[in-house]
């Protein structure tokens, strides 16, 4: 099929779009349309589609715009909540990784310094171990900086627990 545009096509289209066909059409143009296949197709198709559009528009079942507006607001709000939740989830994952790293570093440092649970428990069983004030020096002796790490780990766990509790209550 070859593309053979007609020079009158724009003119006919304009008449059809404005609703001036065939009343406002010059007799010469009308004669041309009756003899030109491209223009004849254009008129036939456009008139058929315009009638179909009018019929279909009358048959349309249109719901209230208020309901759509409300649903859109709800969807926007949910999207906003999801946007806010994303950084929280990121923070949780970061805290979890930090916690794990600290725990691993702590265990490695204990193993390297020759810490033995049996020795430590043995010392506890001695009469002097019953005094609570000797716990801190002994812990510091065995683990060095690890006490600080232990405290940070507990703090992180407390923080995570708080966030988890908040999220759980928010979901409910």
């Amino acid at each position: 099929m070859t593309l053979s545009p007609c020079s009158h096509e724009k003119e006919v289209t304009a008449l059809l779009t404005r609703g001036g066909w065939p009343e406002a059409c010059a007799p010469e143009l009308r004669a041309h349309v009756s003899s030109c296949r491209a223009c004849g197709d254009l008129v036939l198709v456009t008139e058929t589609f315009q009638r179909a559009r009018a019929d279909a528009a009358n048959a349309a079942s249109v719901i209230s715009p208020g309901a759509l507006w409300w649903r859109a607001q709800l969807r926007r709000r949910n999207a906003a909540v999801q946007r806010v939740s994303k950084p929280l989830l990121g923070a949780q994952i970061f805290a979890l990784f930090t916690c794990l790293l600290i725990a691993i570093a702590y265990i490695v440092s204990l193993v390297r310094s020759g810490f033995s649970w049996t020795n430590w428990l043995g010392e506890l069983s001695q009469p002097r171990s019953l005094h609570l004030d000797i716990f801190w020096p002994s812990l510091l002796f065995y683990s060095g900086w690890s006490l600080v790490a232990l405290i940070s780990m507990i703090a992180t766990l407390v923080l995570l627990g708080g966030v988890a509790l908040y999220l759980a209550s928010e979901k409910r």
Binding site: A57, A59, A60, R71, A72
Partner: protein, 201 residues
């Protein structure tokens, strides 16, 4: 204590107040108000439904897609911008959303490609159609490819230019003319075959 150095105390919760107050954060203000939307909806809903129903051949699907189109239109960051450009631009954007939804629907596993949608899909719903124009157009539309139905409707029912159709459908501006010409010739032949008296010129 130096009063200049004294900083106003701000509770840390105020950094993200809505979350810690147990209230969902407010969505950004919509770029158009409900009255403007209601007016726009009243003027555009019927033509959008007609487009969706006639191109898909399924009025129930047209209902669903129309609602989804408006929801996406409202949730996009551009509705106000489009309306500021003029209602024609807003309407064009809406038709673009609807066309994308139609394309997504056709691309679902049921049919692998937009060109492989069964033509009988249109004919199936023809029995429920009452109007004369629909009775005349539906059999012909059923024999057209979905893309052709889309182009014909946008050009001849909605009166969009080739450039606007390219924008709505995502096709190249240069190919619209040829595709539309072929589709028009094809449907004109079908209409004349169905209704020889009406098709005579």
């Amino acid at each position: 204590m130096d009063p200049k150095k004294k900083r106003p105390s701000m509770p840390w919760e105020s950094a993200i107040p809505s979350v810690f107050a147990g209230v969902a954060p407010q969505a950004a203000e919509p770029p158009m108000d409900s009255d403007a939307f209601a007016g726009f909806y009243e003027r555009s809903a019927r033509s959008l439904w007609a487009y969706l129903a006639r191109v898909s051949g399924d009025p129930a699907l047209a209902d669903d897609l129309m609602q989804e189109s408006y929801l996406r239109y409202l949730c996009s960051s551009r509705p106000g911008l489009h309306l500021a450009e003029g209602e024609v631009a807003g309407r064009r954007y809406l038709f673009r959303i609807a066309s994308n939804l139609l394309r997504d629907h056709w691309r679902r596993p049921r049919s692998a490609s937009i060109e492989e949608v069964p033509e009988e899909f249109m004919a199936a719903s023809a029995s429920s159609v009452q109007a004369d124009s629909q009775a005349m157009l539906n059999p012909a539309m059923a024999l057209m490819r979905p893309r052709e139905r889309q182009l014909l409707w946008l050009a001849h029912a909605e009166g969009y230019s080739h450039k606007e159709i390219a924008e709505i459908t995502g096709l190249a501006n240069t190919s619209i003319r040829l595709l539309l010409f072929r589709a028009r010739r094809k449907i004109a032949c079908l209409l004349r075959e169905q209704n020889p008296k009406g098709g005579e010129r």
